[in-house]
C-alpha cells in the first residue's frame, strides 16, 4: 500500500488478533423511531458477512454506520481495532459497491477505477498499471475507454467492483448491488463476487434481502428484523437451527403450526401431540404456553393414502392445490386431524408430473427433528 490518507493504521504486527470490524451496541434513531437498536457483532479478517433482512429491518442503516455516512446515536464502530466514530467516510479504509452502482457518468470505466487511486494519493506512475490489473481481475480488459452508459448491466457491475477494490481497502461493503439484476445475471455475479473476494481475501459485508444470496456467498450471516439482530452464525447453522420464528420464515419455511407447548419438547394441536425440537433455548416455548412450530416444505414426505409410514407418525390429509415447477412439485394440503390446518409439502423427485391431483387423500409425515418449536409470543399476530 502506498496510501497515506487513511486514518486507520493497518500494520501487520499485532494485526492478526484484531478483528476487521466490531460493532458495539450500535443504535441509530430517525426522529422518534429507532431504525437500529443495540446491534453488536464481530467480523474477522477475510470473512464474508451477509446482513440479511427485509426492507426496514435496519440492515442498510447498519451499513451506513460502518461506512461512516451516518453517525451512531449509541454505540461505537471499530475498524481494525481503531474506533472510527469521528472519522469521515473518505478517510475510512472502505471500498463500497452501491445499490444503483453510482458510477461516475462523465468518466470512462478506467477513469472510474483510477478515481479512488487519485483521491487516495497513489503514486501517479503506478496508477495506469494498477487500473489495468483490476480491469483484468473483473474481466473487462480492453473496455477501459468506454463510458458507463456504453457498458452492459453486468459490465457496469464489474466496473463498480473494480472501483471499490482497486485501492485494496481493508473492508468491502456491498449495498444490495445485485438486487436489480435478473436471475441469471444475479447468479453469475454472485459467483463473481465470491471468486474476487477469495482471490483478494478482502473482508466483506454484504447487505441483501435475498436469502439464497446470503447462503451462497457468506462465511457468516446476520438476520435482522425491526432494527434488531435476531441471529448471527454460519449459513448452515442459521438454515438448520433458526433461532427465531422470523428467521425460519425468512429462510423459506413454508408452514407455521400453532398449538400449546408440552415438555419433551412437543406441541399439542387438537388431540395430537407432535414431538419436535427447540433450536434455541432462548426462544423455546415453555410447557403449557402457546407455541408455534416451523416446518420446511421439503422435509415433509408424502405417501399415497394406503402406503402410510410407521404407525402413529403420519397424518391423513387432502391435496387442495399442486404447483408443478419442473424439478419439483409443491403441494398445498389440508390436515383435518390438526384442525383443518394448511400445510405445504414439496415432492423433490416428482418424475416429471404431479403424482397427486387436487382432492386426493394422502398421508404426510416428518421427522421430529424437522419440527422447530418457538415461543408463540415471538410471532406477530399469534394470539391463540
Amino acid at each position: 500500500m502506498t496510501s497515506t490518507a487513511e486514518a486507520v493504521p493497518r500494520t501487520r504486527a499485532h494485526a492478526e488478533a484484531v478483528p476487521a470490524v466490531e460493532a458495539l451496541g450500535l443504535g441509530r434513531r430517525y426522529g422518534t423511531v429507532w431504525a437500529l437498536e443495540d446491534a453488536s457483532f464481530r467480523l474477522e479478517r477475510g470473512q464474508f458477512l451477509t446482513v440479511l433482512g427485509p426492507s426496514g429491518s435496519g440492515k442498510s442503516t447498519l451499513l451506513k454506520l460502518v461506512a461512516g455516512f451516518e453517525r451512531p446515536d449509541r454505540g461505537h464502530v471499530r475498524l481494525f481495532g481503531a474506533e472510527v466514530d469521528t472519522v469521515p467516510p473518505h478517510r475510512r479504509p472502505i471500498g463500497m459497491v452501491f445499490q444503483r452502482l453510482a458510477l461516475f457518468p462523465h468518466m470512462t470505466a478506467a477513469g472510474n477505477i483510477a478515481f479512488p487511486l487519485e483521491m487516495r494519493r497513489f503514486d501517479p506512475r503506478e496508477i495506469p498499471a494498477r487500473v489495468e490489473r483490476f480491469l483484468e481481475l473483473v474481466r473487462l480488459r480492453g473496455l477501459g475507454h468506454r463510458r458507463p452508459h456504453e457498458l452492459s448491466g453486468g459490465q457496469q457491475q464489474r466496473v463498480a467492483i473494480a472501483r471499490a477494490l482497486v485501492f485494496e481497502p481493508g473492508l468491502l461493503l456491498l449495498d444490495e448491488p445485485l438486487a436489480s439484476l435478473d436471475v441469471r445475471l444475479k447468479e453469475e455475479m454472485q459467483l463473481e463476487f465470491r471468486r474476487i473476494q477469495r482471490e483478494l481475501g478482502v473482508t466483506t459485508i454484504n447487505v441483501t434481502h435475498d436469502q439464497r444470496e446470503a447462503l451462497v456467498l457468506s462465511d457468516r450471516v446476520i438476520v435482522m428484523q425491526g432494527g434488531r439482530i435476531l441471529q448471527e452464525g454460519e449459513p448452515e447453522t442459521v438454515w438448520r437451527d433458526p433461532a427465531h420464528p422470523f428467521v425460519a420464515r425468512f429462510l423459506g419455511v413454508g408452514t407455521m403450526l400453532r398449538g400449546l407447548a408440552e415438555a419433551g419438547p412437543a406441541i399439542r394441536i387438537g388431540d395430537r401431540r407432535l414431538p419436535g425440537r427447540a433450536p434455541n433455548p432462548a426462544t423455546a416455548p415453555r410447557p403449557g404456553r402457546p407455541a408455534v412450530a416451523a416446518l420446511r416444505a421439503e422435509r415433509v414426505r408424502i405417501f399415497a393414502a394406503s402406503g402410510s409410514p410407521a404407525p402413529g407418525t403420519g397424518f391423513a390429509c387432502r391435496v387442495t392445490d399442486t404447483v408443478f415447477e419442473g424439478d419439483r412439485v409443491l403441494y398445498e394440503l389440508i390436515v383435518p386431524e390438526l384442525g383443518e390446518v394448511r400445510l405445504r409439502a414439496v415432492d423433490l423427485d416428482p418424475g416429471g408430473h404431479a403424482r397427486y391431483r387436487p382432492g386426493t387423500q394422502v398421508t404426510v409425515a416428518w421427522s421430529p427433528d424437522d419440527l422447530l418449536l418457538f415461543d408463540a409470543s415471538l410471532e406477530p399476530g399469534s394470539d391463540p
Binding site: 467516510p89 473518505h90 452501491f98 462523465h106 479512488p116 483521491m119
Partner: protein, 323 residues
C-alpha cells in the same frame, strides 16, 4: 376529488358503480380518436409547432428591417433615412468613444453578474434539492418565486427607496453617525441590482441539474476517498455542467440586453447597450444608428450564447434524444 362517488353518470341512477361523466367524455374522445386518420397525426405534430415558429419568424423579420435601417444614414434636416446603403453608421460606432465604453461596460457586467449568480445560486439550488426537511424546501421555493411577483421596474424603484440619499440604508448609517453615502448611480449598484434580479433564474435553471445527481454518487465519491471539496470539484460540478451552462446562458443573455437596471439604478451614468439603442430611437430619433447598435447587441448576445453552448458540448441543457 375524482374518486368522490357524488357525481354519478347521466341517468346512472342508484346502480352500484355509477358511470361518471368524466368517463363518458373520455369515451367520446376515444371514439373520435379511433376514427382519426393515422396519417394526420404526424402532420398535426408539426402544425402545433407553427404558432411558435410564426412568432419567432416575425422577430427575424423585424431584425431584417433593422438590418436594412442600420445601413442608411439619418438626415437630420428631413428626419428621413437616406436612400443609399452604406456602412457609415458602423464606421461611426467604431470611432465613438462613448459607444466603446458602453460596450465594455455591458460585457463586463455580463461576465461579473453571470459568475456571481452561478456562485450564489449553486448553494441555494443545492440546499433546495438536498434538504430532507420539507418545511425548509418550501421556504426556499417561496423565496425563489417571490421575486417574480415583483416586476423588474418596480424592484429597481424599490432599490431607489432603499439606497437613496434619504433611503433606508443611509438612515440606518446616520443613526450610527456614518454617511450619508452616495450609493446610487454607480456601476456596483447596477451590478448588485442585476445579480439580485437574475439569481432566481439561475437557481431555477440549476436546480433540476443538481436534483439529477443521486446522493449515492456523492457517497460513492466519499467511499473512493474524495473529501467533500474534491467530490464537489471532480464529481458534482462536472455532472452539473448542463445546469451551469443553462443558468449562465439565461443570466448572460438577460444581463447583456438589460435595460431597466442600468436606466434606473445607473440613472444615465452607467448605460448598457440597450439604453443606447433606446436613446437613439426615442431621444435622438436616429433609427439608423440605433439599428446599428441593436444589431451589434444581437450579434454579441448570439456569440455569448454560442460560446456557452460550445463550451457545454453535446447534451447541453439536458436536451438530448433517448439513448
Amino acid at each position: 376529488m375524482a374518486l368522490s362517488p357524488g357525481r354519478s353518470g347521466l341517468g346512472a341512477g342508484p346502480s352500484p358503480a355509477p358511470y361518471r361523466l368524466s368517463w363518458r367524455i373520455l369515451d367520446a374522445l376515444e371514439a373520435v380518436a379511433a376514427r382519426w386518420p393515422a396519417r394526420a397525426e404526424g402532420a398535426i405534430r408539426w402544425l402545433l409547432l407553427l404558432p411558435a415558429l410564426l412568432v419567432v419568424g416575425l422577430l427575424v423579420f423585424g431584425l431584417l428591417v433593422m438590418g436594412d435601417a442600420s445601413l442608411r444614414v439619418m438626415d437630420f434636416r428631413t428626419y428621413r433615412l437616406s436612400e443609399q446603403h452604406s456602412l457609415a453608421n458602423y464606421v461611426r460606432l467604431w470611432g465613438w468613444g462613448a459607444f466603446h465604453a458602453t460596450l465594455w461596460r455591458s460585457l463586463g457586467a455580463t461576465l461579473l453578474v453571470t459568475l456571481l449568480c452561478l456562485v450564489l445560486a449553486f448553494p441555494y439550488a443545492r440546499a433546495l434539492t438536498r434538504t430532507s426537511s420539507a418545511r425548509l424546501r418550501r421556504l426556499l421555493l417561496v423565496g425563489l418565486f417571490l421575486p417574480f411577483f415583483v416586476g423588474q421596474v418596480v424592484r429597481a424603484y424599490g432599490w431607489l427607496v432603499i439606497l437613496g440619499q434619504q433611503g433606508l440604508v443611509n438612515q440606518v448609517l446616520g443613526l450610527l453617525g456614518l454617511g450619508p453615502y452616495r450609493l446610487l448611480f454607480a456601476y456596483e449598484t447596477v451590478l448588485f441590482g442585476l445579480v439580485q434580479y437574475m439569481l432566481p433564474f439561475a437557481v431555477l435553471m440549476l436546480a433540476p441539474a443538481l436534483a439529477a445527481i443521486p446522493e449515492e454518487i456523492e457517497r460513492a465519491a466519499a467511499s473512493c476517498g474524495a473529501s467533500p471539496v474534491r467530490a464537489l470539484l471532480r464529481i458534482v460540478l462536472p455532472m452539473a455542467r448542463p445546469g451551469l451552462v443553462a443558468a449562465a446562458l439565461v443570466v448572460a443573455t438577460l444581463t447583456l440586453t438589460d435595460f431597466a437596471m442600468p436606466a434606473i439604478l445607473g440613472g444615465g451614468t452607467n448605460d448598457f447597450l440597450a439604453n443606447l439603442v433606446h436613446d437613439q430611437f426615442f431621444r435622438t430619433s436616429n433609427a439608423g444608428l440605433g439599428s446599428a447598435i441593436a444589431l451589434v447587441l444581437t450579434f454579441l448576445g448570439t456569440t455569448v450564447a454560442g460560446l456557452l453552448l460550445a463550451l457545454a458540448g453535446p447534451g447541453a441543457l439536458g436536451v438530448r434524444g433517448a439513448r
